[in-house]
Symmetry: C2
Subunit: 679 residues, 2 copies
């Protein structure tokens, strides 16, 4: 048996014997230990820090003594002086093995470190980004052996990093010569690979060692808002998040009106494309400024969006998406550059990845939800609902995943609601109605008190009580149903029928007053019969979509429900179920996944394998087109009642009692008329 010292790396447990004098980094590489390095062992990038552990390790059969590693050398001393090494840490490229030793690789030194999401779900993201930094020392040009500067960079990458072949994003070529000379022939290059087999491309270069890192944008391009997370491509950390309104709203609130705009106005699609690209450029600039980085450090952007936004982003006329058979120009994932999309604030060589679409109405946003929530890996049957202007619905388990999209309209977001408003301070976000007195209490955004608590009036005075946001209207309608001021068909009773003066006449129908601020010059915040109809339309579309997937799957119940979407995070499961938005399941089986589409974008940004996975997965997903399924209409009509005309809701009814009232006096106001909307 060899007498070379034994080295054990934790947490991997990889072990091996190495001759005295072997640098720890070299040993780690030979064993395939996941240990980062940008400078390639020159003691300047500090990415390869390790923590030797000393003492008896019976688990590993090692006694690790204090002198098991070489003493600090001048490189480590200089580094410590300049930047400070954490106590007990060593630079693994400098520390040499002298004896048996246990060496811990802390998470921040691992390339494939795991990033825990802040959101409720426990899923972690493993770092395996498409773009990485490499520091190289490049040979100076030699007239006797003429080669191009680029070719000598390629030679350095081959010799110093064992990367046999690299190509170059054309736009980086013009900057290469001054960068090499400024860096004294030492540069950091960023290499991007679309996948593990692809030849990496040089997408950026900096003189010397780039110490401030590189970043990527995970962009959730919605019909209404554009949200971006600026993510460090080394650590996976989200360093800034920001959102702006989608400027396309001026061409149409919902997707179908934008498609119409493109159809009615020659060049209208190009106008909308230019508007959204410019907005994304601005957003990138703002978010970089917020994080204190240069936009030139942003080397990637990942987009998730619905099919219409997808086409408008790419500069493709969305006209085909406005009519059957809803043909996408392309459903595949796309690898592009910032130049392709004219994202002028970014480097033109910044790489863009657009997630694949699932079908003409089920976009890259639904694919991102699938990537984030992984219904295909669920043991029990899960229904994932991404609630927005359009609802993306996924149903599946390990055996099969189905997807559809349903045109819920903007009611769930507080739009087209008489007292509706976007979620902002002053908006009613939670409602309770006493079933005895039928008096309401509520909470507004920006105030922790309920409206019947002391302190509310003072706190609310700052913002006023301005309207109802999406989660507020859902709770209000559900509470009205539970309190018996609203019947199963969706009719609001009169003051007479309900015994509360809060039910006031409005034409031939009634409204329920949540808050009367008129005496103080504020608004009358109420829920009108029209609002109820709008919510019924929206929730029927949502439920019908889910039901259609259940039919396809041959089931009449699901095991659990995940509410996704920025708005999904704020929906009360109980109230959603009273409305019959989602199928009946035990309340504790309804969870929120937050902005799952945005999370999917982040995962794709940080992990190359995840891109391959979703590209495979979307092909396996069964697409259900709600627009052509006759049963969708049936399900839609049946879902109009609160919670439902036919389907029993035993789990719900075990929790709450729904008064059996009926306010239909045979008058003019009938059932909800079907209005078909997309977007």
């Amino acid at each position: 048996m060899s007498k070379d010292p034994l080295v054990v790396f934790t947490p991997s447990g990889k072990r091996g014997r190495f001759p005295v004098g072997t640098p720890v980094l070299t040993a780690a590489r030979q064993l395939g230990v996941d240990l980062d390095s940008v400078c390639g062992g020159r003691g300047i990038c500090s990415k390869c820090q390790v923590k030797p552990a000393f003492g008896d390790f019976s688990k590993h059969g090692i006694h690790s003594s204090e002198d098991a590693l070489s003493e600090w050398n001048s490189v480590e001393e200089r580094y410590d002086e300049k930047r400070g090494l954490k106590p007990g840490r060593r630079l693994s490229c400098q520390a040499q093995i002298r004896g048996d030793v246990v060496i811990d690789v802390p998470p921040e030194s691992q390339v494939h470190r795991q990033v825990v999401r802040k959101a409720a779900s426990a899923r972690v993201i493993e770092m395996d980004p498409a773009t990485r930094l490499y520091y190289v020392e490049v040979d100076e040009p030699d007239m006797h052996e003429p080669t191009g500067d680029l070719e000598r960079v390629q030679r350095a990458l081959r010799a110093q990093w064992d990367i046999p072949e690299v190509s170059t994003e054309f736009s980086t070529l013009s900057g290469l010569q001054p960068i090499l000379r400024k860096g004294g022939w030492k540069i950091t290059v960023a290499l991007h690979s679309t996948d593990a087999e692809a030849v990496p491309r040089i997408v950026a270069a900096w003189p010397g060692l780039l110490e401030t890192g590189i970043f990527g944008l995970a962009i959730d391009l919605g019909s209404t808002t554009i949200a971006a997370h600026l993510t460090n491509l080394d650590t996976g950390e989200v360093v800034a998040s920001s959102g702006i309104m989608n400027p396309q709203i001026r061409f149409g609130e919902d997707l179908m009106s934008r498609v119409s705009y493109a159809m009615m106005n020659p060049g209208g699609d190009a106008e909308m494309t230019a508007a959204v690209r410019e907005a994304i450029s601005t957003l990138a600039e703002e978010i970089a400024a917020e994080a204190g980085i240069e936009t030139a450090q942003i080397l990637e952007a990942v987009f998730v969006c619905n099919p219409v936004m997808h086409h408008l982003l790419l500069g493709i006329d969305p006209v085909e998406l406005g009519q059957a058979p809803f043909a996408l120009a392309t459903s595949s994932a796309l690898n592009l550059t910032a130049a392709d999309l004219a994202l002028t604030s970014l480097r033109s060589s910044a790489q863009v990845y657009v997630l694949p679409c699932i079908a003409g109405h089920v976009g890259a946003d639904a694919a991102a939800v699938a990537l984030s929530e992984e219904p295909g890996k669920s043991e029990d049957l899960v229904l994932v609902v991404d609630v927005g202007t359009n609802a993306e619905i996924l149903l599946g388990d390990t055996s099969r995943v189905l997807a559809c999209s349903s045109p819920t309209g903007p009611a769930f977001e507080g739009a087209q609601i008489s007292s509706g408003q976007r979620a902002a301070p002053g908006a009613i976000e939670a409602v309770r109605i006493d079933p005895e007195t039928r008096e309401p209490k509520f909470r507004i955004i920006g105030c922790k008190f309920w409206s019947d608590e002391p302190g509310f009036a003072k706190a609310a005075a700052r913002t006023g009580i301005t309207g109802i946001c999406g989660s507020g209207i859902i709770e209000a309608v559900a509470e009205m149903r539970m309190a018996g001021v609203l019947d199963a068909k969706g009719l609001i009773g009169s003051a007479e029928q309900t015994g509360t003066a809060r039910c006031i006449p409005e034409g031939r129908t009634h409204s329920y007053v949540l808050h009367d601020g008129t005496a103080e010059g504020g608004p009358l915040v109420s829920v009108s019969q029209g609002d109820i109809r709008a919510i019924q339309l929206a929730k029927s579309a949502l439920y019908a979509g889910a039901r259609l997937l259940m039919d396809e799957r041959g089931v009449d119940k699901v095991d659990r429900v995940v509410l996704a979407g920025a708005f999904g995070a704020h929906i009360s499961p109980l109230h959603a179920m009273v409305l019959g938005m989602i199928p009946d399941v035990p309340i504790d089986k309804v969870t929120s996944a937050g902005n799952a589409a945005g999370t999917g974008a982040r995962i794709a940004l940080c992990n190359l394998a995840a891109r391959r996975q979703i590209e495979r997965d979307v092909r396996e997903i069964t697409k259900v087109e709600t627009a052509i399924e006759p049963r969708f209409q049936e399900h839609f009509v049946a879902a109009n009642a609160l919670p439902h005309a036919v389907d029993p809701f035993p789990e719900l009814l075990a929790q709450v009692t729904l008064p059996e009232v009926s306010f239909n006096t045979g008058g003019g106001e009938g059932g909800g008329r079907r209005r078909r909307r997309r977007g």
Copy 2:
């Protein structure tokens, strides 16, 4: 032995037996016969025409009877009616085998047909272009099986052409949907591959079958002129040729003055880049109009140019090329798009190939000359000289090839010559001086008569006698030397010394008058002492470069000389040798290759394998940097004499007598001062 009919294809000689009823195209494909088809056997593209031969073919052991193929079917009849089939021709996708038959594949039906160059050299170009057309019938979209339009095009290419994978140039994506619908789901796509292993990319699409073909531009981007050949990518035929002045001339006549402009003026490089790109765009528009095609049918452009033009075309500051060590940003061949180079008149997806550079002063133009003239395939030792403002010099045979560049300056092109002008009607292009009378005669461009022939005066009156062009000045100086009005050191004698009144004083030196038009208000066309010095500088640089390569190779003679360059075609070998421009070889061993760089560009445009070949070859070429070789100075000085101070010219002296005169009176006019120029 099978009783199936025997089919023999000529000229390949490939043969095989096929069941009765097999279409001829199918048989050809199975045998690997080189037979074209764009429509994939649907009888609409007519590319697969063949000519059956009937009778006894003892060579093939076949009797081919008239009924050996099926009768004309309706597809062939319709095609013949609409467009006309040549007599005896059949559409091989329609004609079926009935009996033993000999079938000739005419050259125009071969994919890899050979294109004979018009120029003197017998080299043929085999067609193997990077871009090809494929006609496909695409499935219509189906809501029940949603896929993108692009994905269905990919599926059609897989099913109908056996092309397993294609990607798409992003800019073609936005046009795909309307094209598919306009063509009724039948389209022609152009696929481009950078090499045989690469995944082809869709770079263009047209509704239905594109019948008017696709084209490529072979562009020789010179310091002074930009020349382009528009080439049919199917047939290899040059359908139009055109040239324009390089607009960068306004920033500097020669390359070094342009580099200086970039160094002295911030943004000057970008200005020059924009100017040349705009000029190329305009040229592409003009040449397409001349050929009567759409610029959208131009799908490729191949560029050859010197390193400074290379960098300025690519948008790279050429500053490094102006100073040792003359580092190129990149020496590799480049695959780009028209969008990358902002060639706005072309489709943004048009593919651009830039030949590799050899070294900091030996550019893609020299590589193109190597590709065209193939010194590395020569059995005897050949010197290839591409004469221009800068001379590219190649020396080699099958064992090894060397290359250098030498700064000859613009004198050979008639610039910086007192009576010099560009080659244009009225310019003296050929000169003879009677060795007895020392009287000259000459020819001018645009007139077939010598100046002493009847008819000259009348013909010349149309243009006037306006100056001397490049080939004229070379002949004039050489004839002056042979007639004894110029001595070996390059001094023009006085009227007294030479006995002719045509030698007139000009300051302390003399000029030789070729033509005195002053009486008619025309110019005095003469050769001054300064002109002789300019020619001496240019020819010394050229000769010294060649000599340096010969030193490196260890030889003091070469077997043959090839003069290349647009101007090289017009140089008289004898006169060039009298001047000592090129080493001494038998006069019949000096040939002209015409515009070899342009030919190299055409070869690379038409043949993918040629690109790979030159990419390999440039790596093997030994680069010699004239600027740092001390012996270059020695050679330069020794080459100042006419023809040479030291090297004997036995082959030359066997043909001509050079009078041993000397006009040095010990006066002020000494030997040529060295002026170092680049460009």
